[in-house]
Structures are given as structure tokens and as C-alpha cells.
Amino acid sequence: MKIAVCIKRVPDMDVKFKIAASGTAVDETGLKFDMSDFDGYAAEAALQINEKLGGGEITAICLGPDTVGETLRKALSMGIDKAVQLKCDAVPFDGYAIAQALAAELKGGNYDLILFGRMSIDSSNQSVGPMVAELLGLPCVTAASRLDVSAKTSGTAQRELEGASETVSFPLPAVVSIDEGVARPRYPSLKGIMAAKKKPLEVKPAQLGAATVTVTRMELPPERNAGRIIGEGPDTVPELVRLLQTEAKVL
């Protein structure tokens, strides 16, 4: 099976962000970057499908400046066969602009399956996958928490809904965006890391579409008020309950 996995390089979200001088982006100094979480699940899903079916080829595609090379190498060290960097100076905020660049790359690739993470954990737009499907005229399943592809012609996926789940089937080729739950991404072995150094990484200019949406201002959420300690021990419970009712109004 020929599979493409589209991945994004995102900052580690567990830090205190600062706004860059431009006022429209985060300050990237000191930030650590890695593959977006859901994209890791997508990469793992692709690897498992080809391991089950035997043979095949998986290509990881990432759009961005040269720093994304590191993210692509990580995908290769997991066992993905080849990588393509769609080079541009900065990743635009507009998902449609990105989707056009990806679609242009994917179009002639003869892929049986194109996988995305459900969303990128930095911008959380959930839009690029479906837009690519639309641009390529392919069926699209979003947020699959299970994916079964055992034949070259069709597959089934399970989607989690509020309190229920649904199973959908679709013909191939198709675009599927992956939710967590598929399978935890494997930890690259040193063997994989070494092998990744020898795998092909192709760099092509990104054919970005015109950006229609731009960020005009970015600001940090207001500081939370400091907590209050009312006292200690069971005697303080009535006071706590009173405050929760009158001040916080949560009871």
C-alpha cells in the first residue's frame, strides 16, 4: 500500500509562551519542537497497516522551513520509508493555503491512503485534512480512532462520538485523519535512528495558495487570580461551601 502521512512540526505546549515582537506569533526562542501528537498516531497507523499487509511504501510530508527536517527524520526513524519537505519560509496560519500546497504534492503521487492527524496541537483548526480531500476529490473520514485497511480497495474506520461510536466504510484512495487511540506511536530505536540518516529526504518548494486568513493580533490569556486559603481542617468546610455558593457560584 502506498501511504502518505502529512505531519506538522509544533512547539512543546507545556511551557509558558511569550508573544513575539510582531504581536502576531509566539516567541520561538527556547521552545522545543516535535511532531504534533496526532500526527504521531497517524504515522504509527500507517506503519501498522503496511506491516500487516507487507511491502508498500510510506512517505512523510511536512511543510515548513528547514527546521522541519528534524521532524521528518523522526518520522523516518520510526520506520517511514521516505520524506518530502515542502519548503517555505514560514508556515501560514491559513489551512487552505497549506492544503493547496499539500494537494499539489499529493496529486501525482498515486497514494492509496493519505493520513493526517486529527488536528495540529498548536493551531487546532482540524481543517487541512478535509480541505486536501476536497481538492483531490477523495472521500474523507475525520477523527478515526480505529482504522482497518486490509484490502487495496476499501477500508473501515471507527469514530468516537459523544457517548457512542460509529463505524464507517470508504473506498480507496481516501483521506483519513487520525485521532488518538489508534495505537501509541512507537519509540524509535537507535537502529531506526541510524537507518533514518540514510533514507531519502526530498526538498521541494511549497506551492502555497494565497493566504486568505491571517493573524492580526495574538495575546496571552489573563493571569489567573491567586488562590485563597481559607484555613485548615473540618471546621473550615462550612465557610468553603458558603464561598463556593456565593462568590464562585459553582454550587
Binding site: 507545556d14 512507537r186 519509540y187 530505536s189 537507535l190 537502529k191 535512528i193
Partner: protein, 717 residues
């Protein structure tokens, strides 16, 4: 000297055969060692240390003697063997040269001493061996049971030694009887036995002598040739092994071997089978006596885990002896053989020169054996992950075997080549990689404990062209763990009160990767260690103090592998020094009379010989303390259970190690348990809670900080 008799000729032939067979085996075993292709450093460095090890651990049996009963018995047999070997040579020469005796060369008093030594040591060995047989058959100590032991073989060998001694003594007896006690030299024992044979005819006496001489000499040759086939191979290799071993130095005790991760063409990282171990690891296999001292001290084994360090070593030997002969056969078959018959398809190949080469069809049974591996087929993942890297096994081994190195090499294989490890380790690896600490705490909070304490960072000092006297390396536990942060603050307060000019790295500090290394992830470790060295070298740091023994060991003992050489001091030693020099303003009074039991951290005591300083710190901080010692203490202290990455793994099998250790500490009657390691702190404090006990668990820094003079406390906070 008389002419050679027919007996001499027969014996010479036998001797030649025995020597030939022995050297065949010696060469065979030496050749097997060459299959160990794992990286190895030179083992002929630092000769004085090696010779000292050979003398002290080898000849003087210092490690054997750590066992108060079996120790002297074994040492007796060993020394007896050394002495009796001189006599054995005389006997073998007698076999070839009729009437040979040292008497002809030695001055009378020396010869007398020689004969006396032979008789007395024969008696000594016989006595010791009898007790050892009794022990094997009747008292059966636990450490001699279990996987990796060969009971019957052990008794057989011991009986053979007893047989050697009995024939030797009878020989002395008959010799004495024949010469009516007038034989040259001193023969108190032979004389005594000889009296019993006094009534026999001359012919019977001669026959008695001859029978025992032959029995002794033949038994000796059989014994020598049986050794290579038994665990008593150690008789031949243990001294060699002790000489080549690094477990008591040379080199840095307890430092793990660095791996070359850039090496071209390496397919297998770490050890999956004997080929990836080093020749020294394989020699360890030959040298194991199966005594079980290691397993008896292993915290994992003691608490019912599958791991037994003895089994690790015995399995290594067993796999080597299974696989190496097949490899030898394959090598020999692969040598081109001129073949007369014309090729008919698959069974024959052609070399470049066109000659026929026999390609033996692979034998499925042999292929199956070759396809097995030490990992999985002998040693399981479960065993390997149970190890706390406490080094108790290495410490106890009388023949200086490094069980832990085999375990570590196999863990490396699991992680680096196979990506197989307990799932709990994944977050730890990712945390170290992405957040610079194994718990994924936000790196921005690393110095949160220091807020308001006015402690400068290295960056701040560097900005004003200043350098501190010491860098306080806080460590991940000390930076993020709520309990350990109290220790960090206590230690910082003492430093301030003592007027020490110190700084921290603040947000620039990140995990040095030691947990990753101990868990087998050498790749991640090297990334982190090299980054830390770069940071430290960037500030030209010279002296580092830390309250974490793992940081202490890693930075002090393993960073030199990456070009980081600093004086690294553990806070127990630093506190002791400050107190000794009177630099800490302490409360004048005697304070409370606490009953304190100190728990030795493995990475301080066994790894780095820091044993007295923590105790001295306690005594100086609490002048009227009642310092008590648990049953297992100092370099024999029992691990808390957190080392070797066990901190991040669940402990499902058997009893919890920390509970076992806490029980032992509580049994001293202590009201306070002192620790000098944030990991031990967690484990022992959990143990105390689990036991529902009330003892306080305090770090040394807290004991000292609690006794700071009131003014010092006021000014330092």
C-alpha cells in the same frame, strides 16, 4: 638416580595424554572467548592495581573471607591447593623419573619444612572439604540452591578433592611405615598413620604405597581434566579473571562503558547474544563458581523477583558453550575444500578460482540452536528489568565478576535495537528528551524552589564577570519533587549560613541522562550528557556540589567520558567538611537525643565509597545522637529499590524492595531514618507509610539545617 622402569614409561605416556587433552581443552575454551566481539577496553592497564587485586582478592581471598563460615573453609582449600601443587609436581616427576625427590636439591631444613607443609595442608584441606561436603548434603545453605547451580557436580568435585587428600595421606603413611619413620624430612602425620601399617609385611607396605601413589597421581590428572567440563573451571580461570577485572578498579568503579553510536555497519546495539558481549564478559562466565554470594545479596532476588545475578552469569557460560562449538564447526566447514566430484546443483559452489567448495546443507537442528539467543532463550526481559543497578552482586563476587555489565549490555539491546521496554519507561524517556526531566515537569519551573531565596544563577554571575566557588547542581528530583525540594532549600540555607559563594544553573540545568543510561537508552543519554557538559564547560565550572548521589556519580565519574572533568562533591561530604571546619553556625545546645539509622545509598556507598562522611555529618549535627546500624549496612547496605530506572517502573512481582529495606531500618528501633539521596527519600518514606510507622525520614541537609543557630536561620531565610 635410577633407570626408568616400565612403570615410568606407562606413567609418562599417561601424563603426555593427560597434558595433551588438557591443552586441547584450554585452547578450545580460549578460542571460544574470541567470539565475544563486544567493545572492550585494554585490560592490561594500571598494572599495580591489577597485581594488587590479584594478590588481595585472588591470593589473599579477601572477598571470599567476607563470608564468616564458608570463607575460611574455601580459603583453606585454596591455600592448601597452592601449597600442595608444589608436592603434586614432585609426584608427577616421580612418575617419570624413578626415585625423584626434592630432597636431592633442597637444604635439609627447607625440605623438612616442605614435607611438613604437605602433610599439614593435606590434613587441613581434607578437614575443610569434609565440612563443605557436609554443608552441601546436610545444611544446604539457601545461596547454594536455585537456578544456575549444579549440586551433584559440586559434591562430586569435593569428593574428588577428598579422595586426593586421603590417597596423599595414606601414601605418606605407607612411606613412613616402610622406612620406620626414618624417611628424610618431617612427617608427623605420615608417621602417625604409618604406625597403623607397621605390622604389615614389607611387600604389603610397598603395595600400599604404590596403590596410593598411583591412585593419587591418576586422580590428579583426572581432576585436572575434569575441571574444564565443570563449574570448577573457576579453579583455572578465577585468578586470571581477577587480574583482568575492573570491578575494584582499575578505571572508574561503576562507570558504564560508553558506546560508539556512530560506528559504521553496526546492526545490533547492545548484547543480544554472546557475540555482542566482550571476551571479558565471557571469561566471567568461565569463572563463576556458582557460589551464589551475588544472588544472596541481590535486592530483587531477595524480594522474590525472577532476577538472579548468578543465573545471568551461568546462562552466559551455558550459551557460550552451546553456541561456540557450532560456530567453530561452521568456520572450519567454511574453509575451502578441494572437491573431486563434479558439482550437481545446490550442494556445491564455486570459488573465484573455480575450485569446488563443499557447502554442507544446513542441519536444521544446528540452525535452530544457532537461531536461539542469550536474550529471550536464556535470560528474559523480566529478569533484566528487575535490576536496580545496586551493584551488590559485583561487590560480593569473590572472583570479581561483573554481572551488572552483562545486564546493562542486554538492556541496551532491548532499548536501542528492539525498542522493547516496560511501557512506563516511555514517558520517562520522552520527558527527559523533551522537557529535560524524566517526569515532564515544565522546564520553566526548574528553579521555582529558589524564588525569594536570592540565589544567583551562573548566567547572572557570568553577566557581571563573577564566578562562584561552587556550582550547586540541584538535580531533577531536587528541582521538581515536592519532598526533595525541601532538602534543596535546607541545603541552600546551610550554604548561605556558612557563607559559601554558590550559584545554580537555574533553567539551564537539565537532566544529565543518567536514568536513560541505566535504562539502556545510551542514545538519549549521550545527547543529554553532552549537552550538560557543554553547559558546564561553557561556564568553566570547576567544582560542583549536589545532594543527589546519581548526579554525583554521573557528573563526577561518567562525564569525563564526554570531556567534562570537574571536582564533584556529594553534599554529605561537603556538609561534613563545612561542619568539621566549623564554618556552619550551629546551635550551641545538644539538641534532642534522636535514635538515627542511616540508610546507605548504593551510588554513594558501593559505587563511590562514601560511607563515613554521612555518619560523621549526623554525629556533628546531633552531638548526642544514638546512631544505630541496620543489619545490612555500609558497603553491604540494601538498595531502596529505586536505582537502575526502577523508580519509573512498576514493581509487581514479589515483595516491595523499599518495604523490605524499611522494615530492616525500623527494626533498629530508630525514631529517625536519615537518607542522603532524594530517590531513597521517596522509597523509604513510602515504606514507612506502608508500614504505618511513625519514624521521620530526613535528609542529612535537613538534620543539619534543623540545628542551625537561630541568628543564622533568621539571616539565611
Amino acid at each position: 638416580m635410577e633407570q626408568m622402569t616400565a612403570g615410568n614409561f606407562v606413567f609418562a605416556a599417561i601424563l603426555l595424554g593427560a597434558a595433551g587433552f588438557f591443552s586441547y581443552n584450554a585452547q578450545r575454551l580460549a578460542r571460544y572467548l574470541q567470539f565475544g566481539k563486544g567493545a572492550e577496553t585494554s585490560r592490561v592497564t594500571e598494572m599495580p592495581t591489577r597485581l594488587r587485586n590479584l594478590l588481595v582478592i585472588g591470593f589473599a581471598q579477601s572477598k571470599i573471607l567476607r563470608d564468616p563460615l564458608a570463607g575460611p573453609l574455601h580459603a583453606g582449600v585454596f591455600w592448601g591447593f597452592l601449597v600442595l601443587t608444589v608436592g603434586s609436581i614432585e609426584i608427577l616427576l616421580q612418575g617419570v623419573i624413578n626415585g625423584f625427590s626434592y630432597d636431592a636439591f633442597l637444604p635439609k631444613p627447607v625440605f623438612a619444612l616442605y614435607t611438613l607443609s604437605q602433610e599439614l595442608f593435606a590434613l587441613l584441606v581434607l578437614g575443610a572439604v569434609s565440612v563443605l561436603i557436609w554443608r552441601r548434603l546436610v545444611t544446604k545453605p539457601k545461596r547454594l540452591q536455585g537456578p544456575g547451580t549444579h549440586q551433584a557436580e559440586a559434591v562430586f568435585i569435593l569428593s574428588m578433592i577428598a579422595g586426593l587428600m586421603v590417597t596423599l595421606l595414606l601414601m605418606f603413611g605407607f612411606a613412613s611405615a616402610r622406612q620406620h619413620g626414618m624417611e628424610p624430612g618431617l612427617h608427623p602425620v605420615g608417621g602417625l598413620i604409618g604406625r597403623a601399617f607397621g605390622g604389615l609385611s614389607d611387600g604389603a607396605q610397598f603395595a600400599g604405597f604404590a596403590i596410593n601413589w598411583w591412585a593419587h597421581a591418576l586422580l590428579l590428572l583426572v581432576f585436572l581434566n575434569f575441571l574444564p567440563y565443570s563449574k570448577h573451571l573457576h579453579v583455572l580461570t578465577s585468578l586470571i579473571n581477577t587480574f583482568f577485572s575492573n570491578t575494584s578498579g582499575p578505571g572508574t568503579k561503576g562507570a558504564m562503558k560508553p558506546m560508539d553510536l556512530e560506528a559504521e555497519g553496526v546492526e545490533i546495539f547492545g548484547a543480544k547474544d554472546i557475540e555482542q558481549l566482550s571476551w571479558k564478559n565471557l571469561l566471567d562466565g568461565y569463572s563463576c563458581t556458582e557460589c551464589g554470594r551475588c544472588t544472596a545479596a541481590c535486592p530483587a532476588n531477595l524480594t522474590g523477583k525472577l532476577l538472579s545475578p548468578r543465573k545471568i552469569v551461568v546462562d552466559t557460560r551455558a550459551r557460550l558453550l552451546e553456541k561456540a562449538p557450532l560456530l567453530v564447526a561452521r568456520e572450519e566447514n567454511a574453509a575451502p575444500v578441494a572437491h573431486a566430484a563434479h558439482g550437481d546443483g545446490d550442494a556445491h559452489g564455486h570459488t573465484a578460482t573455480g575450485e569446488h567448495v563443499a557447502v554442507a546443507a544446513p542441519d536444521p537442528a544446528i540452525e535452530a540452536l544457532l537461531g536461539k539467543s542469550l536474550l529471550d532463550h536464556y535470560i528474559t526481559e523480566e529478569e533484566l528489568w528487575a535490576c536496580t543497578s545496586c551493584r551488590a552482586c559485583v561487590q560480593e563476587c569473590p572472583v570479581s565478576i561483573d554481572q551488572l555489565e552483562i545486564i546493562n549490555e542486554m538492556r541496551r539491546n532491548l532499548v536501542l535495537t528492539e525498542s522493547r521496554f516496560p511501557e512506563e519507561l516511555l514517558p520517562a524517556f520522552e520527558g527527559m528528551e523533551q522537557k529535560g526531566n524524566p517526569w515532564s515537569f515544565a522546564p520553566g519551573d526548574r528553579a521555582a524552589w529558589a524564588e525569594g531565596l536570592e540565589i544567583p544563577t551562573m548566567a547572572e554571575l557570568a553577566a557581571s564577570n563573577d564566578t562562584p566557588d561552587i556550582l550547586f547542581w540541584v538535580g531533577c528530583m531536587g528541582s521538581f519533587d515536592d519532598r526533595a525540594k525541601k532538602v534543596t532549600v535546607a541545603f541552600a540555607r546551610i550554604l548561605k549560613a556558612a557563607g559559601v559563594k554558590f550559584a545554580i544553573l537555574g533553567q539551564e540545568e537539565a537532566c544529565h541522562g543518567d536514568p536513560a543510561r541505566r535504562m539502556g537508552n545510551e542514545y538519549l543519554y549521550q545527547v543529554l550528557a553532552k549537552a550538560a557538559v557543554e553547559t558546564l564547560n561553557g561556564y568553566k565550572v570547576t567544582t560542583i556540589v549536589t545532594h543527589c548521589p546519581h548526579c554525583f556519580h554521573q557528573i563526577g565519574k561518567e562525564f569525563p567520558q564526554w570531556g567534562g572533568t570537574y571536582e564533584v562533591i556529594h553534599h554529605s561530604e561537603y556538609l561534613e567538611r563545612l561542619l568539621r571546619e566549623g564554618r556552619v553556625p550551629m546551635d550551641e545546645g545538644d539538641g534532642e537525643r534522636l535514635v538515627v539509622a542511616y540508610h546507605d545509598s548504593c551510588y554513594l556507598g558501593r559505587y563511590n565509597d562514601v560511607i563515613d562522611a554521612p555518619r560523621e555529618t549526623i554525629r556533628r549535627a546531633l552531638p548526642i545522637v544514638d546512631l544505630v546500624e541496620p543489619a545490612r549496612t555500609k558497603d553491604r547496605g540494601l538498595c531502596c529499590g529505586a536505582g537502575g530506572g526502577r523508580m519509573w517502573m512498576e514493581e509487581k512481582a514479589g515483595k516491595r524492595i523499599n518495604v523490605e529495606r524499611t522494615e530492616e531500618l525500623l527494626a533498629t528501633g530508630a525514631d529517625t531514618i536519615a537518607v542522603a539521596c532524594p530517590f531513597c527519600m521517596t522509597m523509604i518514606a513510602d515504606g514507612v507509610t506502608a508500614k504505618g510507622a511513625t519514624a521521620d525520614v530526613l535528609d542529612l541537609a535537613e538534620l543539619v539545617a534543623g540545628r542551625l543557630a537561630p541568628e543564622a536561620t533568621a539571616s539565611a531565610s
